[in-house]
Symmetry: C2
Subunit: 356 residues, 2 copies
DNA sequence: ATATGTTGTGAGACCGGTCTCTTTTTGCTG
DNA sequence: CAGCAAAAAGAGACCGGTCTCACAACATAT
């Protein structure tokens, strides 16, 4: 009862010092684990601290040491399996090195990302991992660098920024997936992404502000071109942001005079939406339409048929990003790099062989 | 280049004050947005701050105000869709109230949970949301309360603790699901959970240390009892912690002399594993075995047949927990409560009607 | 004109740690 | 037992904000 009445000012080193009958400095040395203190006094202080239930104020500690022991992570959407797995990888790497993680959600919105970054800098995080929502606006990230806070980009690279980035091998992954479809006899291939369509239609690959998506599209196009297929841009669609939008995109795609026979989904959320769209249209996979999705998400292995996917090894990506950031924080001398985590195509049952 | 050479000590209020030719106190008033300052001086200070790219040190701010503006969340496993959705709800509630969220993973391990709680308290979070891994060890949580930090339990309640808890209506949910199975003619029903089996076998409901699971089991048993079915504990299985364990559990369950005809999965991860087990055993749902899972996870709606589930409305649970915690932080006078978020049974295709 | 109040600004204590510098104690050697 | 170095303990500045209090300047009341 008297808990709430008595807000009970937290126990400080000074309190412990008094109880142990030593100076504040000595108590601090014991409690902070630095300097030299005799065994006898150490015991006294520890006993006093235990009796008083002393808990160090990390805030104060961070303030004088200048290190907070936490790394900030700004992701697009924790609810997305891609990011939650990545966060797990980052957390594991962080914990191993004695760091903690503070997570902020940008919802893939630039302004939210910006204020999240500002806030984390304000909290004096020791380092920052960011999934930039747009690769064309880099002021806030440049600011991070000027503030002297180590930064690692995740999933998307920004070459102009001269900073480490951990990504998948998106271009190659898309090429591999696309080639596979072509080898199976497909000639009309569509690529579907959730990127916001600027002005409604697809205009120019170079203008896709998300580098991961851009590189996948480039890979897709290059594989089509290499196979001598005409009009590689014709079936590229953006804007599959929710189920309704996706339904529309898919319906329009398939009512083309020459509809695509295979779909490549830019991520597992889009993949799931496409799957549901096809289901609601009464189409069968792979008989009516083939598909490949990115990410080995839960749902992809329990559908009928199970979905052929590009395995992105997101956990490793996250772990690598975490490790890289920590190396930076610890001032390990390293060249700025783009680290690519290789992917692999996992063949399951969603691609039909046709035309043979 | 000179970025890294010049670690560039951060700009402080004192720097801004000097540049604006005012006292530190005045600059602080402008920058901190408190007290009264004339318009003219305000402009001067703001201009100086902008020129110097001043960023407040939130650490220092927190130290003097005693409020950090962050709430700590300790979850079992962010990778689990249940928790990532909950975190989203919590984050949204927090952001709305101007708080930020710091997340720690316990991996459902008690020691990890304990140290995470300690750490967050050390970071002087303004409040804490915890998913207690065990409802029988409460020392560390009692410590939170003694430290005067508001606490809200999530998903699991601990009556002895006299603290707010936001949970599902687990007992009712289990009853509803079980009754549904009974109504469809099932007489031998199994309940499968991922809880660690203490000593291998299932002994006593009261000893299940996770209150959510315990209440679900209680509901399950009570529905069976109410229907006059014999031996309600006979098909309760714990320990479905990974795919291999689950395969074993399911295989043993179905090779019983009188095997169950329906399975109730304690959460969506177990549900998925059960689904895969059944698949690998070549059994068809619902013809050979019926099943119901908790949580409207992605995978449950795209299987054949889609899975009948208990919809837990986790986002709402998270949001509610966040709001409740914030109310506590802001000292809103409220009675300690257990808030139950109601669930509903979503009928899909994984339950067969038999014996009629 | 003097008393009273209001408003804006400055000086400096404070939060709870760390850490440098000084002083005291201890132990060893000649 | 003096002499000295090394080890242990203490005193107090500092980190970068907030915030209380003192004071100055000016407006209003008497």
């Amino acid at each position: 009862m008297e808990d709430s009445a008595h807000p009970k000012r937290a126990v400080t080193v000074a309190d412990v010092a008094k109880a142990a009958k030593v100076s504040k400095a000595t108590a601090a040395r014991v409690l902070g684990g630095y300097g030299v203190v005799s065994a006898k006094i150490t015991d006294q202080v520890i006993a006093a601290a235990a009796a008083l239930e002393y808990r160090p104020n990390e805030l104060a500690r961070s303030m004088s040491t200048g290190r907070s022991g936490i790394i900030g992570v700004v992701v697009g959407d924790i609810e997305n399996a891609f990011f939650s797995l990545a966060v797990r990888g980052i957390s594991d790497a962080a914990r191993l090195a004695g760091f903690n993680v503070i997570i902020a959600n940008s919802g893939e919105e630039f302004d939210a990302e910006k204020s999240a970054v500002d806030l984390l800098i304000g909290k004096r995080v020791d380092g920052l991992i960011v999934t930039p929502a747009r690769c064309d606006s880099i002021d806030h990230l440049q600011h991070v660098r000027r503030a002297g806070v180590p930064l690692v980009l995740f999933d998307r690279a920004i070459p102009e920024l001269d900073v480490d980035a951990v990504t998948g091998d998106d271009r190659d992954a898309a090429i591999t997936a696309t080639r596979h479809l072509i080898e199976q006899g497909h000639r009309r291939l569509a690529y579907v992404s959730a990127m916001d369509a600027e002005g409604g239609g697809f205009t120019d690959i170079g203008r896709i502000s998300n580098s991961a998506v851009r590189e996948r599209v480039e890979g897709f196009v290059s594989a089509l071109t290499e196979a001598g297929l005409p009009n590689p841009l014709h079936y590229i669609r953006l804007g599959a942001t929710d189920q309704q939008q996706t339904d529309g995109v898919i319906k329009r795609l398939l009512s083309d005079s020459a509809p695509p026979t295979a779909l490549l989904a830019s991520d597992s959320l889009v993949g799931l939406r496409i799957f549901k769209s096809l289901q609601s249209l009464g189409l069968s996979i792979p008989k009516d339409v083939s598909m490949i999705s990115f990410l080995d998400a839960d749902w992809t292995s329990v559908t009928v048929p199970p979905i052929t996917i590009v395995d992105q090894r997101v956990y490793e990506m996250g772990k690598l990003a975490g490790e890289r950031l920590i190396a930076r924080i610890e001032r390990t001398p390293l060249a700025v790099e783009r680290l690519r985590v290789s992917t692999s195509l996992v063949l399951r049952g969603s691609v039909a062989t046709i035309g043979r």
